[in-house]
């Protein structure tokens, strides 16, 4: 692993117009950039071929090479972020931006599995039965109250988990092993249950 100083030095040399430094950069991070573009498209549910991935990869490289790599000089190694992670984050960010600009014509479609129990409970004629509707409303109120009793930190954790940040990703974010993420979810679930039962 190169040190932050070595990484910065490489970027400095690129900014000075050293072609060898740029070639080294491409050799070190080109594959990562390509992979990040490809994977981002895949995770965003965009089906596309090699040509499309290359289109974005090319424009991303041009984006970074412009003006003797001036954008690369923004790297400071802040927060102990490695150059590789920074490049990966830029690549994802750039790809999302490309997709966003495309939004004028684009669309997003997502699919989600529904099991029968959930389906019955959440979709089938929920408003036809006023009593059931009332019970649901009450339940919702209870949940809302219970959430208020959680700390802001606990709510933030739940929010990230429920928004789909994966357990392995959360584990990295919180610097804990993956299994403690699962037990934390279970604990919070239990805590909410207790608060509701206590009334």
């Amino acid at each position: 692993m190169p040190s932050v100083e070595q990484e910065k030095d490489l970027l400095e040399r690129i900014a000075q117009g050293e072609i060898k430094a740029w070639e080294e950069f491409v050799e070190l991070y080109g594959r990562l950039m390509y992979y990040a573009v490809q994977k981002t498209l895949k995770l965003k549910g965009i089906r596309c071929g090699k040509e499309e991935v290359e289109g974005i990869f090319h424009s991303l490289f041009i984006h970074l090479a412009e003006d003797k790599g001036r954008r690369l000089l923004k790297f400071r190694g802040k927060g102990n972020c490695s150059l590789a992670t920074w490049i990966r984050t830029i690549s994802v960010h750039y790809t999302i931006d490309v997709l966003r600009v495309q939004a004028k014509f684009a669309y997003q479609v997502s699919f989600e599995e529904v099991n029968e129990a959930d389906f019955e409970a959440s979709w089938q004629a929920p408003v036809m039965d006023p009593e059931k509707g009332l019970a649901e409303k009450e339940e919702e109120e209870k949940l809302k109250k219970a959430l208020q009793e959680l700390s802001s930190e606990e709510r933030a954790f739940l929010k990230l988990y429920l928004e789909g940040v994966s357990a392995s990703n959360l584990a990295k974010l919180y610097k804990v092993p993956v299994k403690s993420i699962y037990s934390r979810v279970a604990q919070l679930k239990e805590k909410i249950k207790e608060i509701i039962e206590r009334g």
């Binding site: 089906r47 424009s59 389906f119 004629a125 933030a156």
Partner: protein, 225 residues
């Protein structure tokens, strides 16, 4: 996702981030798990309230540095050549000739834009999303195509799981929270919901009144993602 989780998610609405978005290095630091406690907590609190940064961290966090080995020699050679002044100058001169422009300092960003648009427009040629759903004896495939800015077509294919034969007689219905909108019988393995607006829908499969499975589809149109 369990029902209680879905309810909680609904209740835990998006807050308003009270701090400006962290820069990409700080987000990278949190992905690497290298931030000091205080900084980390600040960024995690921001992520809970900011969908844009959360998405970035979710995606970048899923991408391992050691991806599949990619045979990219041609691509990498291309990228290396990019830095040689002659590369830009050649394209520049060519484009200037085509467009009849004079020397223009702003031209390189425009060139990058042109190539970026090339990347984007190539993506636009396949506006189809699909999903496979196992229905026990059958396999359903849903394909969503965009017809215009906010209308979609949802095509349902149903095959026999064993011999891949196209199936007829399965009922596919489309409903939203207000109730059922349309119900079709799959003929020769295919049924089409012709014009569906953006929104959240449930496609429900049944055979002789027996529920086989359901898929939730979310269609979001222009400018909302």
């Amino acid at each position: 996702m369990e029902l209680w989780e879905r309810k909680l998610k609904e209740i835990l609405e998006e807050g308003k981030p009270n701090q400006p978005c962290p820069d990409l290095e700080e987000l990278g630091g949190v992905i690497d798990g290298n931030l000091e406690k205080e900084q980390r907590e600040r960024i995690i609190a921001h992520l809970a309230d900011c969908a844009k940064c959360r998405e970035l961290v979710m995606l970048a966090g899923e991408i391992e540095e050691e991806g599949e080995p990619l045979a990219l020699n041609k691509e990498l050679e291309w990228a290396k050549a990019l830095f040689k002044p002659s590369f830009f100058q050649r394209i520049w001169a060519l484009l200037q000739r085509i467009l009849g422009r004079g020397q223009d300092e702003d031209f390189i960003p425009q060139l990058s834009l042109a190539l970026a648009v090339r990347g984007k427009s190539a993506l636009l040629s396949k506006p189809v999303a699909s999903y496979k759903k196992d229905l026990g004896d059958y396999q359903a495939e849903l394909e969503v195509e965009q017809i215009n800015q906010n209308r979609y077509q949802v095509i349902v294919f149903v095959y026999d799981n064993e011999d891949r034969r196209l199936v007829s007689g399965i009922r596919a219905s489309l409903s939203n929270k207000r109730g059922e909108l349309e119900s079709l019988v799959v003929e020769q393995g295919r049924a089409v919901f012709e014009s569906v607006e953006e929104g959240e829908y449930l496609v429900r499969f049944s055979e002789k009144g027996v529920f086989l499975g359901g898929v939730l589809i979310k269609l979001k149109g222009e400018g909302k993602w």
